[in-house]
């Protein structure tokens, strides 16, 4: 498996796109993965599921706008250079 850096960048873009597509109330609530269904207690450690949900929500919030730009650039480059 010979990786190039370009393959890594492509994989990262695809992965982040996949996370960004998970809609909070249309999809995640239906499978019980939304934040308001999983409010933990106060003191104790959060647990893996709550951490994953928080991670998904943070990635969606942070990467929403940059992903537009990155995807546009990627589309243009793929059209031009195949």
């Amino acid at each position: 498996m010979a990786f190039t850096l370009y393959a890594l960048i492509q994989a990262v873009i695809l992965g982040v796109n996949a996370v960004a597509v998970l809609h909070e109330e249309r999809f995640l609530s239906k499978i019980g993965w939304s934040v308001d269904q999983n409010v933990g207690g106060f003191g104790e450690e959060p647990g893996i599921k709550v951490q994953v949900i928080n991670l998904v929500r943070s990635v969606r919030t942070v990467m929403r706008v940059p992903l537009i730009a990155v995807n546009a650039i990627c589309i243009v480059l793929l059209l031009l250079f195949g």
Partner: protein
């Protein structure tokens, strides 16, 4: 008007042999009306000046040896150096926005004794007793003073050495080309990025409050290149049997090293906040992380070196 003109023409042959001390003064005075006079001076002093000197002189305006007395060239040099300084400042500012330079300097504060002892430790860690990272008033000691501290010098040097060794191994087997070297480098880099990312993700998901920063993880992930170099060397020198023996040896040593080093950082952070039955799942998962990291090392060493020693 006649005197500077004569002086100008008279100094032309002198400028070709070497710049006399008083020469710049003369040229400063006449440089405003310089170009026309120098052209006439060249024609009038005849062909013995030679076309190359004439060409060089006309190009610089006053002659090759007196570049910095020409205000145009002077201004150009100063402008260029100020542009270069601005560019350097911009680059430094951008880099320090992503990577804190002070933290990076900590990892490169090594000396020869540390490097030698650390390399021996990576190859034979079984007799080392004390694996604690020593602190000095809440900040970890730099690698110069503490053998257990992670550094980034050994991983970066080992990475470059591994690339050179891969090029040499491919060249010995007559399979070398520059593209293959670049492919080898980016493959190794990509695997390191994947490993560091997986470690960060698992440490975040299991809320392990350790003081392992990203650079620490890069350092621990880069120590496997030392094992890879040893393995490839033995494979080149002793053939296939030597390769597998060295692979086994460096894998065991590296696994032991990683488990002992990470155990201090990951598993010991639970002693203060573990309470009751809820915490029983935690030490197990932390142990799984450490074991998974350790087992990943020989797999990667084999994956990245087997195609070099076929």
């Amino acid at each position: 008007m006649d005197l500077p003109h004569h002086g100008h023409r008279a100094t032309k042959p002198r400028a070709r042999t070497g710049p006399p001390a008083g020469d710049p003064m003369l040229f400063d005075d006449t440089s405003s009306g310089g170009p026309q006079m120098t052209n006439q001076g060249y024609y009038n002093s005849g062909y013995m000046s030679g076309p190359p000197a004439a060409g060089a002189g006309a190009g610089a305006g006053v002659g090759v040896n007196n570049l910095f007395t020409d205000p145009m060239a002077n201004a150009a040099v100063m402008y260029g150096s100020s542009i270069a300084n601005q560019g350097k400042d911009i680059v430094n500012k951008e880099i320090s926005r992503f990577v804190s330079m002070n933290k990076l300097k900590y990892f490169f504060a090594v000396d020869t004794k540390y490097v030698i002892k650390k390399l021996m430790l990576l190859m034979f860690p079984y007799t080392h007793q004390d694996w604690e990272v020593r602190y000095h008033r809440d900040t970890p000691l730099p690698p110069r003073h503490d053998l257990n501290a992670p550094d980034l010098y050994i991983p970066s040097m080992a990475f470059i050495t591994y690339l050179l060794l891969a090029g040499m191994a491919l060249g010995i087997q007559k399979r070398f080309s520059p593209e293959v070297l670049g492919l080898c480098a980016s493959t190794a880099l990509v695997w390191m990025v994947i490993e560091v990312f997986a470690m960060l993700l698992s440490l975040y998901l299991l809320t392990v409050h350790s003081d392992l920063s990203t650079f620490d993880l890069i350092a621990y992930s880069g120590y496997k290149y030392v094992g890879m170099i040893f393995t490839v060397l033995c494979g080149l020198l002793f053939g296939s049997d030597g390769y597998f023996v060295a692979l086994a040896w460096s894998s065991c040593a590296l696994m032991y090293f990683i488990v002992r080093s990470l155990k201090m950082k990951i598993l010991s952070s639970l002693s203060s906040d573990s309470m009751g039955a809820g915490a029983s799942a935690k030490p197990r998962f932390r142990l799984y992380i450490t074991m998974a990291t350790a087992i990943f090392q020989p797999v990667i060493i084999y994956w990245l070196t087997s195609h070099l020693v076929r």
